[in-house]
Subunit: 392 residues, 2 copies
Amino acid sequence: MDDPFNAFCDHAVVHIDGASDGPLSGLTFAAKDLFDVADYRTGGGNPDWLMTHPPADRHAAAVETLLSAGATLVGKTHTDELSRGIFGENPHYGTPVNPKAENRLPGGSSSGSAVAVAAGMVDFAIGTDTGGSVRAPASFCGLYGVRPTHDRLPLDGVLGQSPSFDTVGWFAREAELFARIGAVMFAVDIPDYTPDCLVIASDVFAAADDDAAAALKPAVERLSAAVGVSEWRSICPEGLDTWFGHQTTLQSRESWLTFSDWIDENNPRFGFEVSELLLRGAALTDERVLEAKEAQLQIVSHMATILSPETFLCLPTTPFVAPRRGQARSAINKSRGRVISMTCIAGLLGAPQISLPLGEVDGIPLGVSLIGPRGSDEQLLGFARRLAATGD
Amino acid sequence: MDDPFNAFCDHAVVHIDGASDGPLSGLTFAAKDLFDVADYRTGGGNPDWLMTHPPADRHAAAVETLLSAGATLVGKTHTDELSRGIFGENPHYGTPVNPKAENRLPGGSSSGSAVAVAAGMVDFAIGTDTGGSVRAPASFCGLYGVRPTHDRLPLDGVLGQSPSFDTVGWFAREAELFARIGAVMFAVDIPDYTPDCLVIASDVFAAADDDAAAALKPAVERLSAAVGVSEWRSICPEGLDTWFGHQTTLQSRESWLTFSDWIDENNPRFGFEVSELLLRGAALTDERVLEAKEAQLQIVSHMATILSPETFLCLPTTPFVAPRRGQARSAINKSRGRVISMTCIAGLLGAPQISLPLGEVDGIPLGVSLIGPRGSDEQLLGFARRLAATGD
């Protein structure tokens, strides 16, 4: 397959036809190279992981579900190394090109999946989202993207990173298909839906760049109008940086536990950045991890007072459009922190979040997000579809 | 060139004839890929360093000196990444094979230079020694190897790491040539020499594995007899671990300062181990560095009372023979600390050290070392040659 945007992995040239009659028959999809595909090795964005693991003996659960529903798998896609990254940079295989802004990063870690969908090479693609790895590239590539309720979809056959945060998500260009995939993945009907109230997170919008916040204003007004009842309010009394710190602490510790034995055994090659992220996890004290865990419980309690069952929270998916390619690590580090200070909210709550491609700054896409209560995945998808269908 | 031990860099297939009449005419040598060779890129053991630097516009000073003295350069040799390593492991280019023990590590970071000499592919080779990078592979590959007095030889055209510790050294199979190279490099005559006294570092021998210490006993007796006057004494009141800590602190800080801008700009790929070493330097406080610097001055004063002008210090070069290949990072980490707790002594003093291939454990080589006062390089070489020539 011609791959002008470097979305696909050369090491797994895959084509597996889906079942002939199913709700997704006739559609093509790609899977991030964290999902097992039988008889292929899962590379996880790192050549030493690829080299030290045997071919998978079965498909990942999500891949199996989609094939059974009729979708045809046409490739495995690039990812940040071991899903540690939010911008899609990969020094081994090259950073996929953002089809909507070719001098900018695609977002990650589900970079290749987002790029393949944005470039129209597949109808949809699956990725994983631990700290923002579907939502950020959805925002940067102008796609619908979902991080489901944590623990709602099985992670069997997925190269996991941080069990308390890992989720399986997907990208689509249109809300109808976006919801249809959800119906298959969750095995539920997805009726149209409108929440009772929209809470617009004023402090999260304030943390975005001015041009980004301004660019999302029409989308926010459209969402408010579609819901009918909305209020602006600040959601994070401690400041987003504090929440970011807790999420990073918990994810870093788990990620280190996941990979440390393999690293010890293999001394793998990583981009410097990824080693630094991993070593931050290694350096954490138990006290700090416990503190973050307790803070997470308090955040969950606090947000339960805001996010009542029929309420969605509205926030920018990312605080800016896709950053330019080729920036120094120090600049990228700061930008990463700013993205994750927004994506950490759903992560800490275990709540579902969808990013909708409703904004742009100077022609470059930017997503607006809705977070619903845990388990409200189908309501989020049903609302996004209704919104798109009615043009509300 | 056929390279069964993976000593040479594929990216620089070099052959430069030496001057036709010189003290080294007719001899071949190799240079660690930290030395510039005009029109070739210096790779420093890292593909991203190679990729981000242009070809050298002139030869390194040491290369120029040797070519002018008649030696012919036949290749550039593998190194640990950016010379950060003591065992020769390189995940990008593969770890060179120790010709004296093929299932064991060659030592590093001047790994390929030592291997090329040990395999008889060249007559001699140059390397660098910052924390032990000539001495360790000399010990492990059964060669003569020297770390000269710090600052005595120019580092022009060398990819430096830690200016306070970087030196240019070399390997040879025989003491006569070993000294002859020194005469060229230092531009001096090297007469035979015998020190007035040999101090045998009892605490350093005690820190070696039992079989290693036992294996070096005949060599120590031979050296003692050749000198005539010798005494066993403990040299390190604080314990070798403390000295190792100071040396590592100072080297780590300097190494980080050397590479941090380039790392920030390029997010290069490293084996995990090397990133970890670099990040230790990044994490050091100024207080800790100052403390180490002050400790170094005290160590220099203390050792001046032991190492009087006509005295050599005798110690094991390494506390064990070459470690087995393929060990886990955690095991390698411990072993590295033990090696550097011995090699740090000359480093902290800025003093010259030669490793002599006079021991072996079960057929595997092990070096014994002599450290002389600063500036005594030619005395060390003259003594090694006399010892070999007389069979004393």
